[in-house]
Structures are given as structure tokens and as C-alpha cells.
């Protein structure tokens, strides 16, 4: 019943994107192979569609895979401009390569995360963990807000940031709403939740999709970052930026009340299925964080909850249908685009258009991070990472000269900084949820968002320069 709307932005997006897809193959850009022209058309279409959103972002990702299969694979349609890719010595990969991105180990890792999150939600494990983890923070209002931020962060490292925010809002808002309207404590807590969720997602590979984009790009270069290594890199960064953000926010929104108790009325479900859920959750996380000890890759471990949760009846068909499948498509489309970017020589051609001499790795990282941070405030974090990371990796690759550390650090920094882009209500779904509670306004979000952004930017680069070389 909602009114049909097709605003100018969408029309411009459609025309520009489809125009690029159709016209690019007819151009002859110097130094770019024919297949590179086709890939450029797909890349520009994808970027325009992802940013202006004439169609949903996940549909764009699906479209990328379709375009690659039709135009750049061994199954491409023969004849006319569609066939241009095959001039000039391009060996078309099997079409299954592009479809196969949907079963990339990173995608399976996320599927494992989705299974665990669905089970945790079904048996209220998330709410019970919240209750237990919040207890040590006591009843001083500033400590309660720290607790809320930290607990949200811990949960969103394993569940989606959005789902964690929704859960925390449902338990916290009814109680916080009882605090007098003029007390800034209301805003402090309502902001602590999206801040904790947005930052917390950085902590593990499965915390939020931009991490997957960075890790998948690295894996394609043969540099696989174990789950525990990513956590070892990211968790201290998360803790430092979260603590400083909390400290700053407590100054901006100084609580007036003396005491606040966040009571959550849940009890642990002790049914056999619930206990099965706890055991599988704990075991999977344990195997992930000990990857270096046993050597079983996280993408393999992730398939255990995918199989055992439904096998034991802990998840049923309904919950499996409820997974965020569109996120898997979104990431897979990005991985697939990255394949053609390197295979057709498009990425190297693109970076060849700019003289990067004298930039150095640090200069490149700062530049890409600035662009990524700006874009990610306006469009989806995953999309920002998907557009930037493949180009960045092509630039950094020659500079790294075969040293995995020199490759991992810049790509991780760029992948992580997009998650710190949270200034606007549209920057992330958790922000949109927080704003809709009516406890905060756009200005409050911008205040905390700018603080998070500055701290995240500085500390990501600081960790990349000073701390991570000692961990890797």
C-alpha cells in the first residue's frame, strides 16, 4: 500500500550504471585490454548501483556475478560486443569460478556465525550473557554505560551489529526511558549501544562484513589470516577506542542521577536443546580462537554449527530461512568483482592512471582510509570496503614485495576504518535504530560519531604502524 516512488537519484543511477556497462566495451582506453574494458563497465555499473541504489545493494552484487558469467566467463554469450572480452589474449575462467564465490571459505565462516547467532537468539543466550556480563559494572551511571557499550561490543563481535543493537535496545530502553527526560544519562546509554555495536564488530572476522571483504581479498593473494590473529590484532584496538570513546561521551553527556540499575529479567533455559546451543556456541568459538594451536581453518570450523545445530534440532527450517542470505550475496558479489579486477588487468590499469611515486605504503593507507571513511559514512560499510579494497590491494602488492605482513596491515587498516564511519543516521543500521527510539537526536549521533571516527582513524593507523608488526 506504500506509495510508489522512483526518485531522480534512482533514475540517474540506472542510466549511469547501465550506460557504463554498455558503453565501456566500445571505448579504447590506452593500456587496457579488451576484457579490462568489459570489467571496467561492470565495475562502474556496480559502484554506481551500490552508491545510488536504484536497486537493492545485494541485487547489485547478484547482478555483478551474472554480468561476469555472461561477459567474462567461458560461458559468455558469443557475438557482437558481448564477445569483446575474448580479444587480446584473455583466458576466460570457467563460469563456476564466479558462482563459486558464494561458497568461499569467508562466506562459510559467516554462515557459521549466522547459525550461532540464530541459535543464541532463539534460546535467549544473548540476553542471558548481557545480564551476567553487565553485573560487574555495578550501578554507577557512567559504569552502567561502559558496561552497556562493552557488552554490546562483545556480542556484536559474534552476532551482527544490527541484531545486537536491536536486542540491547529491547532490554535497555524500557528502563532507561524511566530516567527523567532532562538527564543526559538517557542519551549516554542510548548512544552507548550503537557505538558498542559498531566498534565491537571489528573485533572478529565474523563481526561485520567489511572484515570479510578485507580477509577475502588477502586470501586471494594467498595470505590467509587466522581467526585468532585477526582477533589479536583487532581486539586491543577495539578496547582502546571504545574506552576513549566512553570517556569522551561521559564528558559530553554527564549523567545527573546517582544510581541506575539495569535489571534484565531472563533466566537460563535449561532444556536439552538450549544446553546443546550453549555447548556448540562455546565449542565453535573455542575452536576459532585456538586456530593456531590445532591448525583447522576457521572456515572449516564454521561448518560444524551449520551442520550440528539443525542436526540436533536446535535450529529448524524457519530459522535457517531467517539467515541474512542477502549479506552473503553482497559479500560474494564483491569477491567475484575482485576476481575480474585482477584477472583482466583492470586493477593494475586503474592504479597506473595515477602517479603514486612518493606516496609510500603509509601515504596510500591514509589516502584510502580517508576516502573509505568518507564514503562509508554515506553508503553501506560493506560496499565501501568492496569498492576500495581490491584497488588498494593491487597498489600495495608490489610495495609489499612478497612479505605477508606488509600486505595484511594496510588492507586490515582500510577494512577496519570503514567500520569507524558512524557519523550519520544512515551510516549504519545500528545508528538508525538508536535514532528511532527518540531518546537521542541526529546531533547527538554526530557528536559520538565524530569522536568515534577520529579515535578510530588515528588508532587504526597507529596500531598498523606500531603494534601489529609485533603480532604478525
Amino acid at each position: 500500500m506504500s506509495k510508489p516512488s522512483f526518485p531522480l537519484k534512482k533514475i540517474i543511477g540506472l542510466v549511469l550504471g547501465l550506460g557504463a556497462l554498455i558503453l565501456m566495451p566500445f571505448l579504447s582506453l590506452e593500456g587496457l585490454s579488451p576484457s579490462g574494458h568489459v570489467a571496467l563497465g561492470i565495475f562502474v555499473m556496480a559502484a554506481v548501483f551500490w552508491i545510488l541504489e536504484p536497486i537493492p545493494i545485494y541485487a547489485t552484487s547478484m547482478g555483478v556475478i551474472l554480468a561476469q558469467v555472461l561477459l567474462l566467463s567461458d560461458q559468455s554469450l558469443v557475438g557482437g560486443w558481448l564477445d569483446r572480452a575474448h580479444e587480446g589474449g584473455y583466458t576466460a575462467p570457467p563460469y563456476t569460478l564466479f558462482y563459486g564465490t558464494l561458497s568461499n571459505p569467508i562466506i562459510i565462516l559467516f554462515l557459521g556465525g549466522f547459525s550461532l547467532a540464530a541459535a543464541a537468539e532463539k534460546y535467549a543466550l544473548d540476553q542471558n550473557l548481557t545480564r551476567i556480563l553487565l553485573k560487574p559494572f555495578g550501578t554507577r551511571p557512567v559504569m552502567v554505560s561502559l558496561g552497556v557499550m562493552m557488552v554490546t561490543g562483545v556480542l556484536s563481535a559474534f552476532m551482527s551489529n544490527t541484531a545486537t543493537t536491536a536486542m540491547m535496545m529491547t532490554v535497555a530502553i524500557p528502563i532507561v526511558a524511566m530516567v527523567p527526560k532532562e538527564d543526559p544519562f538517557r542519551r549516554l546509554v542510548a548512544l552507548s549501544i550503537p557505538v558498542g555495536a559498531n566498534i565491537g564488530g571489528i573485533a572478529t572476522p565474523i563481526g561485520t562484513p567489511p572484515n570479510a571483504v578485507a580477509l577475502a581479498a588477502l586470501a586471494r593473494q594467498g595470505t590467509v589470516v587466522p581467526f585468532s590473529t585477526w582477533m589479536l590484532m583487532a581486539t586491543p584496538l577495539v578496547v582502546v577506542t571504545m574506552l576513549l570513546t566512553w570517556w569522551g561521551m561521559c564528558r559530553m553527556f554527564k549523567p545527573q542521577i546517582e544510581r541506575f540499575e539495569l535489571t534484565i529479567n531472563t533466566t537460563f533455559d535449561r532444556s536439552p536443546k538450549a544446553i546443546g546451543c550453549y555447548v556448540i556456541f562455546g565449542l565453535t568459538v573455542l575452536l576459532w580462537v585456538t586456530e593456531k594451536l590445532h591448525g583447522v581453518p576457521s572456515g572449516v570450523v564454521a561448518f560444524l554449527p551449520v551442520v550440528f545445530l539443525p542436526a540436533m534440532g536446535i535450529l529448524d527450517k524457519k530459522e535457517i530461512r531467517g539467515f541474512s542470505w542477502e549479506v552473503l550475496w553482497l559479500v560474494a558479489g564483491g569477491i567475484s568483482m575482485g576476481l575480474s579486477l585482477s584477472q583482466t588487468g583492470l586493477a593494475s590499469w586503474m592504479i597506473g592512471q595515477v602517479n603514486w611515486d612518493g606516496f609510500g605504503t603509509l601515504g596510500l593507507v591514509v589516502l584510502f582510509s580517508l576516502v573509505g571513511f568518507t564514503v562509508a559514512n554515506l553508503v553501506s560499510h560493506t560496499v565501501s570496503a568492496t569498492i576500495l579494497v581490491p584497488v588498494a590491494i593491487a597498489l600495495v602488492l608490489p610495495l609489499a614485495d612478497g612479505d605477508p605482513t606488509a600486505l595484511i596491515i594496510p588492507i586490515a587498516v582500510i577494512g577496519i576504518i570503514v567500520s569507524y564511519a558512524n557519523i550519520l543516521p544512515i551510516s549504519t543500521p545500528p545508528n538508525a535504530i538508536a535514532l528511532s527510539t527518540g531518546l537521542i537526536d541526529t546531533k547527538d549521533l554526530a557528536k559520538s560519531g565524530i569522536l568515534v571516527g577520529i579515535l578510530g582513524f588515528i588508532f587504526s593507523i597507529f596500531f598498523g604502524l606500531i603494534v601489529w608488526p609485533h603480532i604478525l
Binding site: M1, K3, S5, T162, A166, V327, I433
Partner: protein, 165 residues
């Protein structure tokens, strides 16, 4: 643009209608209010809402009115596919036992407020009923969340907030 969810107030005494609308106006930035002085006017208001493609979340209805009475209007709404799920509140001092029984059994009455009422009670009932409406229709509660009761829409909110992008 998400669908607008209206509050409809039906009351024949203009003074009383003014009070109801003024007290509910604290919700008006999210839930627009329509008014009607009789059952016929209420149908006209509903037709306007329908023509815009919008919805009715809750109706606050007096019982004793000239012409068709409140309970008859609510029964009619119950049978109308567009207003079937809308929450129905009787706001009255004069509904007898028979009318009240009819309202519960045939109109699917959601709540009964006896006159005189106070503003806190009225607003509380409005927020609860609007929350139940959003939850029953499984609407994404985000655009309306400011005035919804989290205990009622929490599950709907979580179901609508799954994925990061």
C-alpha cells in the same frame, strides 16, 4: 516513505473531542490524528485515510452519539477488511452492559476507558494499542519506535533488524 498510521477519535461533543485530541497530540509527530463527530464522519475520515494508502492504528470511540452509536461503528469496522486489525478502544461513560458485551464479542474491543480518564492513562493506552497494531501487522517498528512499548514490539524489532550492510 513508510505508511502513516493514524489515530482516529470519534466523539459527538466538540469540547470533549478537543480534550481527547489535545491529550493525544503528544504522539502526533509520529501518529497523525483524525477526528469525527459521528459514525458517518468517521467513515469519511477512514475513506480519506484509505485513499492516501495509509492505515488506522487505533480508534478511540465514544458510545452514545446521535445516529449510529459507537459500538455499531466498531462492529462495522471489525467486518471491514481494512479496519479489521485496527485496535478499537471505547472511551465512554454511558455504555451499558449489553452494549459493552456486544463491543467485546462482535467488535473485538481492545480496551475500555471509562470517563473520566486522565491524560497519562489515555496516552499509555494509545501507545500500547499502537504497539500491538504494529506487532500484529509485523510492520518494521523503526519509523514509529519513539512511542511504541518495547515489551510489545521487541520481537518485531529484532525480526526486522537482522543484518549489517
Amino acid at each position: 516513505m513508510s505508511q502513516k498510521i493514524y489515530i482516529l477519535c470519534v466523539e459527538d461533543e466538540a469540547d470533549v473531542l478537543d480534550v481527547v485530541v489535545r491529550e493525544l497530540s503528544v504522539l502526533e509527530d509520529v501518529f497523525p490524528i483524525e477526528t469525527a463527530g459521528s459514525a458517518d464522519e468517521a467513515r469519511e475520515a477512514l475513506a480519506r485515510i484509505e485513499a492516501e494508502g495509509d492505515a488506522l492504528g487505533v480508534v478511540f470511540c465514544d458510545h452514545m452519539m446521535p445516529g449510529e452509536n459507537g459500538v455499531e461503528l466498531l462492529v462495522w469496522m471489525r467486518e471491514h477488511p481494512d479496519w479489521n486489525v485496527s485496535r478499537k478502544v471505547l472511551l465512554t461513560g454511558q455504555a451499558g452492559l449489553d452494549a459493552t458485551v456486544k463491543a467485546v464479542n462482535e467488535a473485538g474491543l481492545s480496551h475500555y476507558i471509562a470517563k473520566p480518564w486522565d491524560q497519562d492513562e489515555l496516552v499509555k493506552v494509545a501507545r500500547e494499542q499502537l504497539s500491538r497494531y504494529v506487532a500484529a501487522r509485523k510492520l518494521n517498528p523503526l519509523p514509529y519506535l519513539k512511542y511504541l512499548v518495547m515489551d510489545i514490539v521487541g520481537d518485531t524489532l529484532r525480526a526486522n533488524s537482522a543484518s549489517d550492510t
